[in-house]
Amino acid sequence: MTTPKVISRSSTTSSELDSDYKWGFTIDIDSDLAPKGLSEDVVRLISAKKQEPEWLLEWRLKAFRHWERLQYREPAWANIHHEPIDYQDIYYYAAPATKDAPKSLDEVDPEVLEAFEKLGIPLQERERLAGVAVDAVLDSVSVATTYQDMLEKAGIIFCPMSEAVRNHPELVQKYLGSVVPYTDNFFATLNSAVFSDGSFAYIPKGVRCPIELMTYFRINQADSGQFERTLIVCEEGAYVSYLEGCTAPARKSHQLHAAVVELVALDDAEIKYSTLQNWFPGDKEGKGGVYNFVTKRGLAGGRNSKISWTQVETGSAITWKYPSVILQGDNSTGEFYSVALVNRYQQADTGTKMIHQGKNTKSTIVAKGISAGHGNATYRGLVKMMPTADGAKNFTQCDSLLVGDQCGAHTVPYIEVKNPTAQMEHEASTSKVSDDQLFYCQQRGMSVEDAHFMIINGFCRGIFQELPFEFAMEASQLLKVSLEGAVG
């Protein structure tokens, strides 16, 4: 791997911390910072900065007050270990300093564009061929959204959350918090109080979104938290495929990322949500890295609706994330495909929840965990069959692969069945990379490292196939980079 080119002219360069994380650059742009710490004033300040309507401020304040009551009750059940987080030592709002919101790409800070170019995001017009509309969120504020015109013609709304609050308040008010209420859990409550931006997508009745929508998240400011909030609504018969990617600079201190994603699918609608998560995982000694505490949930509310989560989790010092589907509509479908890779001192406690309420609802869970170095990966998943879920079906498969003898792989499924006609099957296995397979590859002239990579890539193939094509390539590369140094 080449040493990363650091575009930063000041601040700590990533190379002194870690030369293997190629996304570890910082960008030197002026940030508009709220004071450190969380208080009612900060919540009001964020709301005022975003020129939000009264109802939203009220909602934030309700969340903040609820969070204050939860203050000392951070969830403790996950299989993760970290120093207590000082919530008063975090910047809750950091926006690139621009006087007005950018109207077009030309008004976006060139350094930000340079950063995104480095990230490889097709942000510019010339990237039309890639067929991706991007909403890039740097620290807390959406920077630019491409392809507005084309989407508008189809009646699709795809814009930063703050813009949606201004331009489509009725939609935001109707759906915000409808799937993940502000009382949901510690981190969702925190997010509800301080979320600064995120993406909003609305696909009207019968529309099939012509291109893939994409958001790119990046934490740039040191000691800042990122709290974005994404809301996607698919009306009857609509379809959308949504992609999300994340990176962060290499920092010695931990950064907090507590996002909330809400999906709503009405009758016959389908939402496909793909994530490529590559937050800074911490260095080789386990210093630094992002704490990724994310709440993602979809409501398959309509008949025959479908929500599909695909995630490739290679980054973050700690991942705490359970993309879930509430299968409320009859015949609705939920899917969860996941690859979670931990190396170095990373910890991942991730999985899903499938809550079957409607009749003949179906869910499929395929989770692959790869543990290397000193990493610990836990699959934690709930399948719940409610009394109304006649004829519901679930199939769960979790496989774990161990690379090296200092890592751990854990499987903790929760199965709750309250309906005798529901069927559920769960199977899981844990093993290391087969010696026979390795021997065969090596005997054909491959290096140990290449052989490992090929076998691991094959192990994840089923999941990568669920990703949109360009993402699948990137995921495979990411896997290779993340595994470097783990074998051989």
Partner: protein
């Protein structure tokens, strides 16, 4: 977390009265006092946040009743069960002599009460211990049974708590079969708070059968702790017929290379019943093998909880672990909560687990009916086949026959499965 002081006071008064009425050797008194101290500090467990061990079972029904200690002599061991041709062991252990030394050495060693309120309470009421001890090097097969029979207490109105304790010590190369049964009268709701400790020494082979056949209205909390040394083999089969609330907390530590354990279980719950099986296997040393297979049949509005925990420690290479939990739901209102977890810290291992829940397969039913069986007979046949996989792991023929008829009688297809 802690309960209302009045209930603790009742337990405390009984604990002190017991200490005064049945003073044991000094070490026993110390152990009792330590048990009480711990129980007083932590009380009964709650399903509060993060307490994954009690996630699906609330012990409030037990915690809120003012149970008294019956102060009965331990002459009730033997009980109404058939004897299966096995010699009975009395619970009136002799704390003197060589056996006394062995008891002192092992009692309370495996069943830690540090974070277990029930084990602490049992220890606070230590009086009668059923001891099964096979000395080192005696390879001759030994077969005994321990029956903890609850009888009606002196006061019909009062509810009683019993704290039976069993200590099984299998010496080197011992060959031991133990049947441990819990029975009780169908009278008022009583509470059995049992603790069993089993030490399986090097090369020993122990077959352990645990049969829970208490009153349908009783409460039962059983803690079983097994420690296995090198090259030992431990086979267990637990059978439980529903009680109002039953908990089977069964933990095995594989603490020597070559140790093997096979844990099987069958539980049946009917209307208003709740059963919670928490089965933990700790692979603490390399080259150990474990098999875990539990099956449940749920009827009425009953609820079954299964928690499986297989832990493979960092140095436990070449571990081989399999874990299965299968549940058959016979009623619309039954609920099963299953959590078969694997925690693995070593890489050269073969571990797998599986869990299923569902009703009787409609196609299989149809097949049998097309062959002329009526719905009830066909259902009975399939339920019986489902149960028999576990019953067939029982080696003593008289016990197997007894279990067959016991389960057949209880699962008499009161509610017909819905063949949708």
């Amino acid at each position: 977390m802690t309960q209302a002081p009045t209930r603790h006071e009742r337990y405390f008064a009984d604990h002190q009265a017991l200490a005064a009425a049945s003073p044991g050797p000094a070490w026993l008194d110390t152990l009792r006092a330590a048990g009480w101290e711990r129980f007083n500090a932590i009380g009964f467990p709650t399903a509060r946040r993060g307490n994954e061990r009690w996630k699906y079972t609330a012990v409030a029904p037990i915690a809120r009743v003012n149970f008294a200690y019956p102060f009965l002599p331990p002459d009730n061991v033997g009980g109404p069960e058939p004897d299966f041709g096995f010699a009975a062991v009395s619970a009136a252990a002799d704390f003197d002599g060589e056996t006394g030394d062995a008891i002192r050495q092992h009692l309370g060693r495996l069943a830690s009460f540090e974070d277990d309120g029930f084990a602490a309470l049992n220890t606070a009421f230590l009086r009668d211990v059923a001891v099964v001890r096979v000395p080192d090097g005696s390879g001759a097969p030994v077969a005994v049974r321990v029956n903890h029979a609850a009888t009606d207490g002196p006061d019909v109105e009062q509810r009683y708590a019993r704290h039976p304790r069993t200590l099984i010590l299998a010496g080197r190369n011992a060959n031991l079969t133990v049947i441990e049964t819990y029975t009780g009268p169908p009278g008022p709701r009583y509470f059995t708070n049992a603790v069993t400790e089993i030490v399986v020494s090097e090369g020993a082979q122990v077959d352990h059968y645990r049969l829970l056949n208490e009153s349908p209205a009783a409460y039962h909390v059983g803690v079983t702790r097994v420690h296995q040394a090198r090259d030992s083999s431990f086979s267990s089969a637990s059978f439980a017929l529903g009680t109002a609330l039953a908990r089977n907390d069964f933990a095995v530590t594989l603490d020597g290379p070559g140790a093997y354990c096979s844990l099987n279980g069958l539980y049946y719950t009917g209307q208003g019943q709740h059963i919670d099986n928490l089965i933990s296997i700790d692979h603490a040393q390399p080259h150990c093998t474990s098999r875990l297979n539990y099956k449940g049949i749920l009827d009425g509005n009953s609820r079954a909880v299964f928690g499986g925990e297989v832990l493979v420690r960092r140095n436990a290479q070449k571990s081989d672990a399999q874990q299965t939990d299968k549940n058959l739901l016979l009623s619309e209102d039954a609920e099963v909560d299953s959590k078969p977890s694997l925690l693995i810290y070593a890489d050269d291992v073969q571990c797998s687990h599986g869990a299923t829940a569902g009703q009787i397969d409609a196609q299989t039913l149809f097949y049998l009916r097309s062959r002329g069986l009526d719905l009830a007979a066909a259902s009975r046949m399939l339920i019986s086949a489902f149960a028999r996989e576990i019953v067939n792991t029982v080696k003593p023929q008289p016990l197997r026959d007894y279990l067959d008829s016991l389960f057949d009688r209880n699962i008499a297809v009161k509610t017909l499965p819905v063949g949708r």
